[in-house]
Symmetry: C2
Subunit: 223 residues, 2 copies
């Protein structure tokens, strides 16, 4: 449903932790992946213009010049980040719109898949916003989101045809479903002020949110 490709797993792991490790011996691929990981998080926090190369370098433990060595410019690095996301993105699988699942199952699987992806990369939703707002989508309006959107509208239309989904606007409803799937993570930094005790990104909290979302949406659209 959601899977990584390219860039070894180990590199991804090692760089996610902030502590400045002694850094591995010369390993081009690992270094690039580390830079990309740190860059992705920084870009997701501050956007293209707001991100500082020094900050990425500091987080990576690599010297600044390394970034230019591999990615030639800040923009080049940003492009590489967006490209990697695009290539990893395979959220709502093609199967969901096929006939193997019932409408209800397909909707539920879509929601579960969307929220699971959000839990895996809680910061990417913001990157997606940034890209459209700050850069007019010039660096890739990742087609993955589009696909999952149209997948949902298709399921909704089929549901209405079958009579299991009430009469509704598939376009707006798909937007609102996506909204439920993504808001939790986009607003996570805000929401934590509401109840600091609640661990919003814990596995149990995510599972509860998946159930709450499924219950809300399915009750909201069923005939």
């Amino acid at each position: 449903m959601v899977q990584e490709k390219g860039y070894s797993v180990s590199s991804s792991d090692s760089s996610r932790q902030k502590s400045k490790k002694p850094r591995q011996a010369r390993d081009a691929e690992a270094t690039q992946a580390q830079i990309l990981d740190a860059a992705e998080e920084e870009f997701a926090r501050y956007g293209l213009a707001g991100t500082k190369i020094d900050e990425i370098a500091a987080r990576t433990g690599v010297v600044k010049a390394m970034i230019y060595y591999y990615f030639k410019s800040k923009e080049g690095l940003y492009q590489a980040v967006m490209q990697r996301i695009g290539s990893e993105l395979d959220i709502v699988s093609e199967q969901l719109v096929s006939d193997s699942l019932s409408i209800q199952e397909a909707i539920e699987a879509s929601i579960r898949s969307g929220i699971t992806y959000g839990a895996m990369y809680p910061h990417r939703g913001m990157l997606w916003f940034y890209e459209a707002i700050q850069n007019q989508g010039q660096y890739g309006q990742s087609s993955g989101w589009q696909k999952s959107f149209w997948g949902i509208t298709t399921i909704l239309e089929r549901g209405m045809a079958e009579g299991v989904v009430r009469s509704l606007d598939p376009f707006l409803t798909a937007i609102n479903i996506l909204g439920v799937c993504t808001f939790y993570f986009n607003a996570h930094e805000n929401l934590k002020y509401l109840d600091p005790a609640r661990q919003l990104l814990s596995a149990e909290a995510i599972e509860q949110q998946i159930q709450a979302a499924i219950d809300l949406i399915w009750a909201g659209i069923k005939a």
Copy 2:
């Protein structure tokens, strides 16, 4: 429901349009409001770090030094912007949680109010995200949102007690309702790529979205 205070209306109007007007004669209040308007939009697009003072000055038609004259620093300007938003914010009125409305009416009014506010200031949702993600909410985690959130949980709890709302998690459901109300505007720049013909911010589109949201949410939570 939603109302402005301070800063004259005319100033707000004149600066919203991008074309460089000849600028009015010396009018301290109007100039400040113009700067604040332009700053709010820029900050909402690029965040605190990503925004350039020169850009704000260019949009305002005022010279850069003017901004420092009135707001003393970029941070000061940002604070002023956040403060103005906080003072204008009066979204979900206190009445909604009172007994004058039925549960269903209160929920519908909350949704309508939230979306109407979003339509008025489509960019402010991003400012809200930025504030938490980039600045750890140090410049005001505008209490307005918090109030409307807890207002919704209260309504939901009352609804469950009355038996008109099904058994659900009020905390998560309130989050998801807020998600539906805000995603449409936050993602507006992304969504426009889906169907360029659709005018997402037109009055009719907004009204349709209000209806779609109300229908989805109420069907989703009613007993």
